[in-house]
Amino acid sequence: MNLNATLVAQLVVFFILAWVTMKFVWPPIVKALDERAKKIADGLTAADKAKSDLAHAEKKVVEELRKARESATDVRASAEKQAAVFVDEARAEAARIIAQAREAAEAEAGVAAQRAKEALRDQVAQLAVAGAEKILRKEINAQAHADLLANLKQELQ
């Protein structure tokens, strides 16, 4: 264990190594580690944000579902109401059409009856004339008694 100039050499080597480490080793590693720490911190923040966003979205989904269900109920109720209105209207229309048809039929029937009555009257008059003719064959002249027959026909009306 003798001392000699090796000591000075070692001293110089010591400072050279320390300087190189300070210049070329320490800064890049510090930079990388700090950047990684920041990345991780950012990642954690993003994860937290994503989690809260998810919770928010789920809440929104529930809310939307509830709204949709409510509006579906509304739509159904109004549709039912409208359907009822349609049915009523249709029913009223049908009743109106039926009444109209009945009226028209009645009117037509009245006209027909009138016509039948007139036809009958003619026939009755003819029958009466024919009957009277048969009874009065000889005495009655259709031409001579035309006025009489016309009067009779008038009376039967």
């Binding site: 001392l3 090796t6 320390a18």
Partner: protein, 280 residues
């Protein structure tokens, strides 16, 4: 490992002494306790080699560093990086100083860990290879730079210089001189010399103990490996079994020492530099 158990085999003492002698610029063992004209070539070579490996690993990690998903290598380096950065943050409170101090701590930790790890190589492996390369069977080579007091004191004096730098930077030169004379006992002309003496002793003790602690641990560890290798060198069944069992146990235990001493050196570096930031 072979310990050179030949006909003219060295005695145990010679073996140990041989393995504890540095390959230096003079070519033979240094006799004077302090001789500034001598360089330990093995310590310088292996510490620079380990320094290059350290920088290679760290720069590879730095180039690969991304803010995305890290690979295993990157994650491993990042774990150590975070460990050092956290310790630095807890001890040195100036963010500006940490830009230099934290890389120093990281470098020190990696570098010392690798230099200590040279102890895991079989004690005779590299010296034998070196002897074969040089053709000199008595060529000296020590492979653990931290088991050389020059290596560890070189680093601890480096830490001392950083401490002085921050003392002056934070407190101003006048402020620091004022502190040297008035702390720890208080501001009184009679106390100035005592305070100054205490401060000097403190700096000396910090620096010497800082370097000596690492040196002592690694030197002792290396010595134990050599003693265990001597057991195998007897080439008996008992010696062989003893070498395998004791060598395994000590190597496993030494993993702890290697990592722990690197960590302690790094922590003390941070603590001393942190103290330089605090005013008494």
């Amino acid at each position: 490992m072979s310990t050179g158990h030949e006909a003219h085999a060295p005695t145990a003492g010679e073996y140990i002494v041989h393995h504890l002698t540095h390959l230096n610029s003079t070519g033979h063992a240094q006799t004077a306790i302090i001789d500034w004209s001598v360089w330990n070539l093995d310590t310088i070579f292996f510490s620079i080699a380990m320094g290059v490996v350290t920088l290679f690993i760290l720069i590879t990690a730095a180039n690969k560093a991304t803010s995305g998903v890290p690979g295993r290598f990157q994650a491993a380096i990042e774990i150590l990086f975070e460990m050092v950065a956290d310790q630095a943050k807890g001890i040195v409170h100036s963010a500006e100083s940490r830009k230099f101090v934290a890389p120093v701590a990281l470098t020190v930790f990696f570098w010392i860990f690798l230099m200590n790890s040279m102890d895991f190589l079989p004690v005779d492996l590299l010296p034998k290879i070196w002897a074969l390369i040089t053709g000199d069977e008595h060529a000296y080579l020590r492979v653990v730079p931290t088991a050389d007091l020059n290596g560890t004191l070189g680093m601890s004096i480096g830490v001392l210089l950083i401490c002085v730098y921050y003392n002056i930077k934070i407190k101003g030169f006048g402020g620091w001189v004022h502190e040297l004379f008035t702390a720890p006992f208080g501001s009184h002309p009679l106390l100035y010399p005592i305070n100054f003496l205490m401060q000097m002793i403190e700096f000396l003790a910090k620096t010497v103990s800082h370097g000596m602690r690492l040196f002592g641990n690694m030197y002792a560890g290396e010595l134990v490996f050599m003693l265990i290798a001597l057991m195998g060198g007897t080439a008996t069944v008992f010696g062989f079994l003893g070498h395998v069992v004791a060598g395994s146990i000590w190597a496993v235990f030494h993993i702890l020492i290697v990592a722990l001493q690197a960590f302690i050196f790094m922590m003390l570096t941070l603590v001393y530099i942190g103290q330089a930031h605090e005013s008494h």
